[in-house]
């Protein structure tokens, strides 16, 4: 009986060890279970008189109240899109100013973050953003700012893109 218990305990320990090893192995194995989504928010930033406001549909983005995005005190949500992000497959997002944003998930890093390639192209023009490669944590947005909502009319406000990889 004692020997059986010892054998059972040994087997349990072995299984736990194997499980720990499996968890430590390449995270791509676990990642294959479900692709993350690339979420793109198009925001219109303007400087209004008074304290300004932030569209509640945007959600909680404290970055908007910190420099340099605090250059605008009013933000409105123009559009919000989300597409599955498959490794090496670009997802295209037509923007309000006529340009096209492409987001490509390159890989998941060993520290569970995402390496993301972003480009912004414009028909019949040089690429506005030829290449932006970032490593972003899950659910941690990065921003591409500086464009105008109307490329030829800066008075219509700035176009700020918030890009988030959501697992």
């Amino acid at each position: 009986m004692k020997a059986e218990r010892r054998r059972f305990l040994s087997c349990a320990l072995a299984m736990m060890s194997m499980a720990a090893l499996g968890a430590g192995f390449d995270s791509k194995i676990a990642w294959a279970a479900g692709d993350p989504n690339a979420e793109v928010m198009e925001l219109q930033g303007t400087q209004e008189s008074g304290p300004g406001s932030i569209d509640p549909r945007i959600g909680t983005l404290p970055q908007l109240k910190k420099p340099p995005l605090s250059a605008y005190n009013t933000y409105k949500l123009i559009d919000k899109k989300s597409q599955p992000a498959k490794v090496g497959v670009p997802s295209s997002y037509p923007l309000a100013n006529g340009r096209t944003l492409q987001v490509t998930l390159l890989e998941q890093t060993p520290d569970k973050r995402y390496r993301v390639l972003t480009t912004i192209s414009e028909a019949n023009a040089k690429d506005y953003l030829k290449k932006l490669e970032v490593i972003a944590g899950p659910n941690e947005p990065f921003f591409v700012a500086g464009q105008n909502v109307d490329v030829k009319n800066a008075d219509k406000g700035a176009l700020i893109l918030g890009i988030t990889i959501r697992p």
């Binding site: 072995a14 690429d127 506005y128 290449k131 944590g137 941690e140 700012a145 500086g146």
Partner: protein, 199 residues
């Protein structure tokens, strides 16, 4: 005592009640005719009575057989069973295998933790806040990957690996210590100046 061995055995058997028939008649005849034999019978009876009295006074709680069984059970319980040599070797090999697996798992854990602890150390001393321009129009030249690496914030936030915009000025802003409920990591704003083509 001049009683013969045969008469003594006869008296003892009589006292013990083992005789019957002719043997009993002979024993009774002996006791009636021989004083020594009758005296011996009396003494043996007294002795037997004495033993019975003592035994009754010192009666044990348990039957001696039960006590013996209890002792044997206790011995079996206390002494660990020893397996065969093959079984012990098998157990030793299994133990060695498990120990090895646990050592590998621990090594892997320490390796992964060592990698992430470096990042955590970086997070404990995050890059100082980038001095931001008063107006977004103040831009800098496209930073090199080395500059970007030097400005890299905590590992759990966002890092810029590279940025290229051939025809526009680019600035990279790190926005440290977000106060959102879900994250306190740094974030990044890449500012690409509209309409200002590079010379």
């Amino acid at each position: 005592m001049s009683l013969s061995r045969e008469h003594m055995m006869q008296v003892m058997s009589y006292v013990d009640g083992e005789l019957e028939g002719d043997a009993l008649d002979k024993a009774e005849t002996l006791l009636a005719s021989n004083d020594e034999a009758s005296q011996l019978a009396i003494e043996l009876r007294n002795l037997g009575e004495c033993v019975r009295i003592v035994h009754t006074d010192r009666k044990l709680d348990k039957n001696p057989d039960d006590i013996a069984d209890d002792v044997m059970n206790e011995l079996e319980r206390r002494l660990a069973p020893v397996g065969s040599l093959a079984e012990r070797r098998r157990n030793a090999a299994l133990t060695a295998m498990i120990t090895g697996a646990m050592a590998i798992a621990a090594g892997w854990f320490l390796f992964v933790r060592g990698q992430s602890s470096g990042n955590l150390n970086a997070q404990a001393n995050p890059t100082p806040t980038v001095t931001l321009p008063a107006m977004p129009s103040q831009t800098a030249a496209t930073p090199t990957p080395e500059q970007l690496a030097a400005e890299a914030p905590a590992a759990e936030g966002v890092d810029v690996e590279s940025v290229e915009s051939p025809s526009h000025e680019v600035s990279v802003f790190y926005v440290p210590a977000m106060a959102s409920a879900s994250s306190n990591a740094s974030s990044v704003v890449v500012w690409i100046q509209e309409g200002e083509a590079k010379k």
